[in-house]
Homo-oligomer: 265 residues x 2
């Protein structure tokens, strides 16, 4: 949507209704293309369902200064910052170091985390590498890892999770009940059965007339192989949403009729 | 890798060898989870193959001020900034507006772009919405779109592409021959057949001893269902890469032997 529309939408809602988030994906392997990220889409959908607006994602390499800079930029701006990746046992896992540095706290060996890791691998196998995963910034709460035990953590508004999708998803389930959530953003899809270029101007007029909702337009190829468009109307007020949806449907009927009349002549 | 290792790696190479890039993904639909991004992984792999280092990715919503801020942060820092999304015919497609604003140039109707779009849809169908796709920041070069004609563009060090993966990929093929490329970052994978936690300390020592390469460690579940680890050694100098790979393999053999001896007792 345009800046104008989005600003109006924000004004139309109480500030308290919005809980925002950013996601920071940490790892050279994503930036080299070696590993294809599977967490962004999952986190986006998960937070949206909770009523938390994901407003920004960044992917940064395994460089401490880059991670700290991104953390500092994001944690000032959003209710929550979720991170994925960089909490394993090897030298390239530096997320905990970066978070401790961003918060200006020591990175202690956490005995709760040591106990969890020992539970998994046995006390005899608690070597230096595995104990690396027990280094938790002082003052953080642990985020349980029901998959492989080595925990994530939560400090301030930053929630640090593993990069492996199955572990990340389990950690998200652990923290979800403790998150503040907003009034859920409702969403309705309308299939246009028209090409995006046939409705752009008219859709813009509908968007302008309904400043309290957001209207997105997404072209796709339909099952007949033709160009088609999905329109998505989003907003927090069910009545305003219904009114905008009706306006979209009226507009689509008018454009279809006009195109049919044009083809008939 | 640690900050120290990465800095050393950078010092070990000539500055000219590095061509860097950032990717800016634009669209509410990615942040809501409605659309799962397929471009980040593709662009990452593509640029890596060309010898261009993708160093940062950001995903931002369809808000002009956010897009401009991200563009300005990224284009100062990297050789190239690629964008995906927001160049269609509807009111929520505001990437061209944001790029024009970032560069401080007018957003003109471009007759070359008009001709391309007319070729696709016919002159009779050149309505206001479709002509929206012909608005190109003044001074930009067009990026041809062999899939659906409406072009992307290239201004300064910013390359603006469509969000639809098939179109984005075709546009990337169009611009690739014109990109400055660096000395390709070479990469070798070694399967550890050990758990990440068994080798973390020893691997850290190898990484420290080979500061001119980057060594990443990626746990995975192997076909026997057991925890395993891939080690990836990357660098631009083939000899240094080979030396580091040998050191990794020696280290792995030693750890395997030590674990076997431990189990035998």
């Amino acid at each position: 949507m345009t800046q104008k529309t989005r600003d109006s939408a924000a004004q139309g809602e109480s500030q308290a209704a919005e809980v925002t988030a950013a996601l920071l994906v940490i790892g050279d392997e994503i930036l080299s293309g070696r590993t294809k990220d599977k967490n962004i889409g999952y986190v986006a959908e998960y937070l949206t369902a909770l009523g938390i607006d994901l407003e920004e994602v960044r992917v940064v390499p395994d460089i401490e200064a880059e991670i700290v800079a991104a953390l500092d930029a994001l944690r000032q701006r959003y209710t929550y910052v979720f991170t994925t990746g960089g909490i394993g046992p090897t030298h390239d896992d530096i997320t905990a170091d970066a978070v401790a540095k961003a918060f200006g706290v020591p990175l202690d060996r956490d005995e709760r985390a040591v106990a969890l890791i020992a539970e998994r691998v046995g006390v005899a196998n608690l070597n230096e590498a595995r104990l690396r995963m027990a280094r938790i910034p002082r003052g953080a709460d642990l985020v349980q890892n029901p998959v492989s035990k080595a925990p994530g953590f939560w400090i301030g508004n930053v929630i640090v999770m593993a990069g492996i999708p199955a572990v990340m998803q389990a950690m998200l389930d652990e923290v979800a009940p403790k998150l503040r959530t907003g009034v859920k953003l409702l969403s309705e899809s309308v299939r246009a059965d028209l090409r995006e270029g046939d409705i752009g101007t008219e859709l813009g007029a509908v968007a302008k007339a309904h400043p309290d909702v957001m209207i997105g337009s997404y072209p796709f190829t339909d099952d007949q192989g033709g160009p088609n468009t999905n329109l998505v109307v989003r907003g927090r007020d069910p009545q305003k949403l219904a009114a905008a949806r009706s306006a979209v449907e009226r507009m689509l009927a008018q454009v279809r009729a006009a195109l049919a009349a044009q083809q008939a002549t």
